[in-house]
Symmetry: C2
Subunit: 150 residues, 2 copies
């Protein structure tokens, strides 16, 4: 009974490393879909949420675009345009930096903080539900193995 085979609609017997790579990809797809759907109900993408979290972590200190880019989970997305969307939604404000006019200063608005406060407990719940099928030991094992992999 190999669940992967039913996902792939195939009876092929796969070598262990290939099977594991596919398993990682499929699990991540599943996780991403759940998260994406969740964020969509707030009219946000996962990456937009990620940026809001980073800005909140600044505790009032404005962040430059390059700082945000460094801290994002997906380093390669187009942070300029991603932030445009957040500004359109009034979750973030942008100002030119006085000391160095090449830089911009980004700051989360009250509206941005408010939506984070609404999202966070629900997201915690979603994550808890997602891992409910595993024991604490198994989750810790998974963590250790994943960290070893990188």
């Amino acid at each position: 009974m190999n669940k992967l085979n039913s996902i792939l609609k195939s009876d092929a017997v796969l070598p262990l490393h290939k099977k594991t790579a596919l398993n990682l990809i499929c699990t991540n797809n599943y996780l991403s879909e759940q998260f994406q759907e969740f964020f969509k109900s707030f009219n946000l993408t996962g990456q937009q949420y990620n940026v809001l979290r980073i800005l909140r972590g600044q505790k009032g200190i404005p962040a430059n675009l390059s700082t945000i880019q460094e801290r994002m989970i997906h380093k390669n997305s187009n942070t300029s345009r991603l932030i445009d969307k957040l500004i359109q939604k009034r979750f973030v404000e942008r100002n030119q930096c006085e000391e160095n006019r090449r830089k911009i200063e980004l700051i989360i608005t009250k509206k941005g903080l408010a939506i984070l406060n609404k999202i966070d407990p629900e997201l915690d719940e979603l994550e808890t539900i997602f891992f409910k099928k595993l024991s604490v030991d198994e989750i810790e094992t998974l963590n250790n193995i994943l960290e070893k992999l990188r």
Copy 2:
């Protein structure tokens, strides 16, 4: 020493389930980047390779678009346009189905089979290298935990 924190450039202590979700996402990013780069060296995307594999599995029997869609790893991509790209590259041929003209018949070309034969051993090698940091026991444990999760 939490590798995640260095990726996220943050010292926050995360609850286990949040940490694990991020770990899965980051591991998958890493894996996907490696694969993407690899496929790019053949001027393909991972999804295009996935379709070529499905078509080869047909062993000469033409496949409909809907069949391919069902079997793909990422079910939501736009299979019509994905296959357009493969046709442009002469890896696939498309014909209207005689019995039911709503359907199309897709078949992999000799050029398509040839590139798969070039890719496959190198991909095996890449996968083996990726999991070299883990023991066979650990890989099997990872597999079991991932299957439990879905």
